[in-house]
Symmetry: C2
Subunit: 452 residues, 2 copies
């Protein structure tokens, strides 16, 4: 990074934080439809202020995806992906400061979305603003799509990507980004898990009944508990018919990448508040489990009286929310069919399934040229070899559509100031401000180097 750019960044210290606070102050909860329109407008405003031309990409029933473009000195074209929506903030009572009032404590900025992923929007924006201010233009052409439904599974992204595919063509795509490992190595993430998110509902009575009638009445709560217990063994093996049939074995290169990763187990244990990981796993076995195991997670469960004290009620209804995280080449539609088949086969035809999201895993191979170029750029940043994560536990449901309609090879590079244990999807989400500053510097280095 040359001295002119460094001077500009020093002179504008705090710009990324100010951008981030502006983004976080606007609620944008896709699941609850809160603040989405206002957030789309704010996103557009902030992109225009940074020199972009913007355009709203529309699909029936979807909030607008914001598309922005700015030509650069080099013909090299990079597509950036982000989302302006966030997860719900509940349970609100567990937040130490209000979810949509950005608050700094101990060098960390707390707010819903600060990490996932308004922090990355702010870091990318601050870097691009610095480059433009210093040199009068960007080093490369940037195309940028920021959608508003990622946290509910990007249900309309395919309907946007298909008609607007030409706008999104590029030499490479940076997805929602990665960060640095505990020992300062830039992390490249090459893939995400697939997701099938379903809600199970059962109703056995016309209304809640006095629990003294329990000997003679069916129980929705018991039926749901017993149905759930058939889905998964206590050791985590998922019991749906054919669930593991399509699971692809990891490649040698992927296993080698995992083995080369730094050991951050102590930090992870502290961050999650656990004494040990599931089944006492550690080392490479833990990493392999995390990378290549599909899961069936209970994200929500409710029936009957959940307040203080006692209420002797036999609940009429029960509900569970379940997310399956899928690995290559599991097909979410096939898993959904297997779930229905499994419930029916176990006598639970009275449990209904509502689908809230379904997409496959997407993994870019390690030998893809864009991956190799980004690895070299990352190593050039601080001299440390990048840590390569073949696939993460999270899901970017849009990647399937991007690959299908646009075809640009993608990955996550460390332009995202997140840190593991940052309360993503949970109360007290935050980022460390030092990580935000580092992300701005990395983004400047990366955009410049891609233009050379």
């Amino acid at each position: 990074m040359d001295s002119a750019l460094q001077s500009h960044i020093r002179a504008n210290a705090g710009e990324a934080q100010a951008l981030l606070e502006r983004l976080c102050r606007q609620p944008s909860i896709a699941a609850q439809g809160v603040g989405i329109d206002a957030m789309a407008s704010l996103t557009e405003d902030m992109l225009r202020e940074a020199g972009f031309t913007t355009r709203r990409l529309l699909a029936d029933g979807a909030p607008p995806a914001i598309f922005a473009e700015q030509k650069g000195r080099s013909p090299y074209t990079l597509l950036l992906y982000n989302h302006y929506d966030v997860q719900p903030a509940e349970p609100l009572e567990l937040w130490h400061s209000a979810a949509f009032e950005p608050t700094v404590r101990d060098g960390k900025l707390f707010a819903r979305g600060s990490s996932d992923n308004k922090g990355e929007i702010a870091a990318r924006l601050a870097a691009l603003r610095a480059l433009r201010a210093t040199y009068g233009e960007l080093p490369i052409t940037i195309r940028w799509i920021i959608e508003g439904e990622e946290e509910i599974g990007s249900p309309h992204f395919a309907a946007i990507a298909e008609p607007y595919a030409e706008l999104l063509k590029a030499d490479g795509c940076l997805w929602e980004g990665s960060s640095f490992t505990v020992d300062g190595r830039p992390e490249l993430i090459l893939g995400t898990k697939g997701l099938l998110y379903v809600q199970l509902d059962i109703s056995c009575l016309g209304g809640d009944a006095h629990s003294g009638n329990a000997p003679m009445l069916p129980s929705a709560a018991w039926r749901l508990v017993q149905a759930l217990a058939t889905l998964r063994t206590p050791n985590g093996t998922i019991q749906l018919p054919g669930f593991y049939n399509a699971v692809r074995a990891p490649t040698e290169a992927q296993l080698a990448a995992l083995a080369d990763q730094p050991n951050d187990e102590a930090e992870l244990r502290a961050a999650f508040g656990v004494e040990q990981f599931a089944d006492g796993l550690t080392g490479l076995a833990l990493r392999q489990r995390q990378a290549f195991s599909p899961t069936c997670n209970i994200a929500g469960l409710v029936s009957g009286y959940t307040g203080e004290g006692s209420k002797t009620v036999l609940p009429a209804k029960a509900m569970a929310k379940i997310d399956f995280r899928l690995v290559p080449d599991q097909d979410p539609d096939a898993i959904l069919a297997a779930l229905r088949q499994h419930l029916d086969a176990h006598g639970y035809t009275d449990i209904s399934i509502t689908t809230f999201g379904a997409c496959g895993a997407v993994v870019t191979p390690i030998d893809e040229p864009f991956v190799q170029r980004m690895a070299a750029i990352a190593q050039g940043y601080n001299g440390k070899p990048p840590a390569i994560t073949p696939i993460i536990g999270g899901t970017l449901p849009l990647l399937d559509a991007l690959r299908r309609y646009v075809g640009v090879p993608g990955l996550c590079a460390p332009g995202n100031p997140t840190y593991w244990a940052n309360g993503m999807h949970a109360p007290n989400e935050h980022i460390r401000l030092a990580d935000l500053d580092e992300a701005v510097r990395f983004n400047c280095h990366m955009f410049q180097t891609l233009g050379v």
Copy 2:
């Protein structure tokens, strides 16, 4: 019933309803500590207005139990038991009129507590007011205790009954009452199930986590679901060690009483909104199951995100509320110990148990003289032989203490204007006003006949 009394009742039609509305307008939710003090004062006021002397019976940490006494012409002394507290009104959104604004629709009065059991307080009070107004005094001596914690398991009733046992001595006791069968026979209820109400809690993480971490983290929701599934087979058999050991077989007289009961299955199915009862049971088999089977009911269950749409979270905590209904001679303390032992034996030492109530079943034998006298009085009311229920599914946790410290034989007689399917413990609790009037008449007949 003589003509003077009949005239008084006719001239004061609506008095019982007015008394009931006054009682229901005052919230008194023991589980939430709402309105209890005001309800105790209102109860005292209304008893004094009916000619009773009153006294507050106190125990540390308990709301006052109201004791009332009024001497009568005959030395025969009857103890009445009621409670002025009610169940929580949640879920509020399912009520068609506000829970604490008594509202009449279709000849029914809707309000929380209208049936359980302010309706009975109103019917007893109206009958006693009518007798006193007509004859200048009561036919018998009435002692009446009205406590304020029945709906949370009467945790302090023993601490009240023990020191005040002399006040509560009587020739017989009428518990919370019964009603009439569908074919108009007075129903006598001779016993109640025991209750063990527990809350199970488990916490596996420092906080909720992103569900992408599911491969490597323990899940509180899964552990609770799998622990619950070990408690009970899908067909309802409870798996705690020794759970059924102390269960006493029904007597010949009890089985004969069950066989003599009218068949109200069609009405019950309609009321509960079910096409058939558990396991397709019907007839005597259904009645035996309802009377003599202990149960393990999930009254509440919650973990993670339970709002609209999707949230991909791995919940840190999970909670279940369970009530066990017990039969003679199951001991709630032994069942609690068996629950702990069962959970530990299945590896769930990390699930904590909080007890919200524990009491044994209480059953008065059919050949007890007070039972035989009440059966004769009931038959004298409308010429129909009483239907005798040896034990109901509900629980009156104070009965154990009453029997232990006071020793008075008790039962439920049809002075309670309830009707099955009246939304007890559920939204839209109500009574039929015609049942309320009949309860006043039955109470007048009963109090008069006991004095002869």
